[in-house]
Symmetry: C2
Subunit: 274 residues, 2 copies
């Protein structure tokens, strides 16, 4: 059987997402360069990529680069794995090389490439990435979109090389997923951060609530979040709600408590106002 040439990829960005995506891609494609203004981050990620691909010959080695001027002109895919705010700048300050340009953002539409590139799309992994925490990329849902059918097909193939869960999604649906993920993931995590602050005042921390958190999340396998709700606001226990607000240490936490509790009351006891 003839060996098919491996896709050549340039990765722009070396943050949390690139940290997990680049090695996964490097095991099935040629990740040839990592570009980041932060030279140290680019170097660390290139080294991580090279460890994965085993450095088979000098020409296959992944290079770390600090300037967009050093982008190779003949990559098959330019993957922009940067802050959402930087995508437009990167799109407009690079040449229109003939490969496919794609970003990994949940909230930026394809129009960011309009007039700048000929072939483009999105390549959105719906997952939370922290450098310290391993991620099983094979189970991450990828939502892809392409400026033309053949671009979409290529991006689907690339995603299919690293994950078993690949879906197409319009920019509109991708934005809804991203916004929902911010509530479900970042905002829920902020509630854990608030709990951690309260517990540390008593010499405890969030770890003592882990069994409770696991049970809370476990309910979502069989109940909707509204159906799984418990606690004083869901019961309409106004005395507890008022006492909790008194106990909270500052005005901002009190306001946060009020607004979230009112959202819960609105669903379970619409006649009650905190």
């Amino acid at each position: 059987m003839q060996q098919v040439a491996r896709l050549r990829i340039s990765i722009i960005g070396a943050g949390n997402v690139a940290w997990h995506l680049a090695p996964a891609l490097a095991s099935v494609t040629d990740v040839r360069q990592v570009i980041s203004r932060h030279e140290d981050s680019a170097g660390a990620l290139a080294a991580r990529v090279n460890a994965v691909c085993g450095l088979e010959g000098r020409e296959k080695c992944c290079k770390a680069t600090a300037s967009l001027d050093c982008l190779y002109g003949d990559s098959d895919l330019y993957l922009i794995v940067s802050n959402d705010d930087s995508i437009a700048t990167i799109a407009s300050s690079t040449e229109n090389f003939p490969g496919i340009w794609a970003h990994t953002s949940g909230s930026v539409g394809l129009e960011v490439f309009d007039g700048e590139k000929t072939a483009f799309g999105s390549f959105y992994p719906l997952q939370t990435f922290s450098k310290e925490i391993p991620v099983d990329v094979g189970k991450v849902p990828f939502f892809v979109e392409g400026s033309r059918p053949e671009v979409l097909e290529t991006l689907k193939s690339v995603a299919g090389l690293v994950s078993s869960r690949v879906y197409t999604a319009t920019s509109r649906r991708r934005r809804a997923l991203h916004l929902a993920a911010v509530f479900a993931c970042n905002f829920a995590n902020q509630m854990w951060a608030e709990a951690d602050i309260l517990l540390r005042k008593e010499g405890l921390d969030i770890t003592c609530l882990l069994p409770l958190l696991e049970a809370t999340l476990g309910k979502l396998g069989s109940l909707s979040p509204a159906g799984a709700m418990t606690g004083p606001a869901q019961r309409g226990d106004m005395n507890v709600l008022r006492r909790h607000i008194e106990e909270l240490p500052d005005e901002e936490m009190k306001e946060l408590y009020r607004i979230v509790s009112q959202r819960i009351l609105d669903a379970s006891h619409p006649e009650l106002i905190i």
Copy 2:
């Protein structure tokens, strides 16, 4: 070996907490009666208790009762498993029978029994209970407190019969745990409810985010919530924050988004104001 008489327990309340606690207690004590204004709930829970204890003889059978006037005078423990708001009323409208009176609330202090009962305490299971979802009571942390050392010892023994994780906690520490649990559990769950609302508009629901939620919670095993934070607010991506607020369907969700995002910004980018 002589058989030691089993502790005789009256349970007041038949909601989510009693639903899981009463059968666990019935396997190691004599749960003799379940009292609830809601006769149906009391009946359903008494049947559940009798199924556990196998109905060994008529006199050991758990009775369902709708009136506090029917409380047995010779129980060893009167466990008030009711709404927080009802505890004071129950304490004042029942006779001062000589057994131990205890409530299962996280936020009500022992003073609710002052002047009403002679022996009393708290028996707080730190867990979220829904009737539909099984709970492994053996792993639930119990926080107990007693009006006298021998009351505390009895409550510790009872908790130790059903769980391997029993701690003593002052009312102050118990209140801190309860307030933190409201943030960590109920408020995080409300964030999932908000995500569910947003996804349903697109024909999706929260289940498509479950792998993401599991990864988010999984991080807390090795990182603090502040260290595990990701997302646009943590990155200071103000364009995304502003676009998200535009996309949200009503003023209350916009305000919720603003206040939670500002809390995240305060921790990561204190100079930024949304």
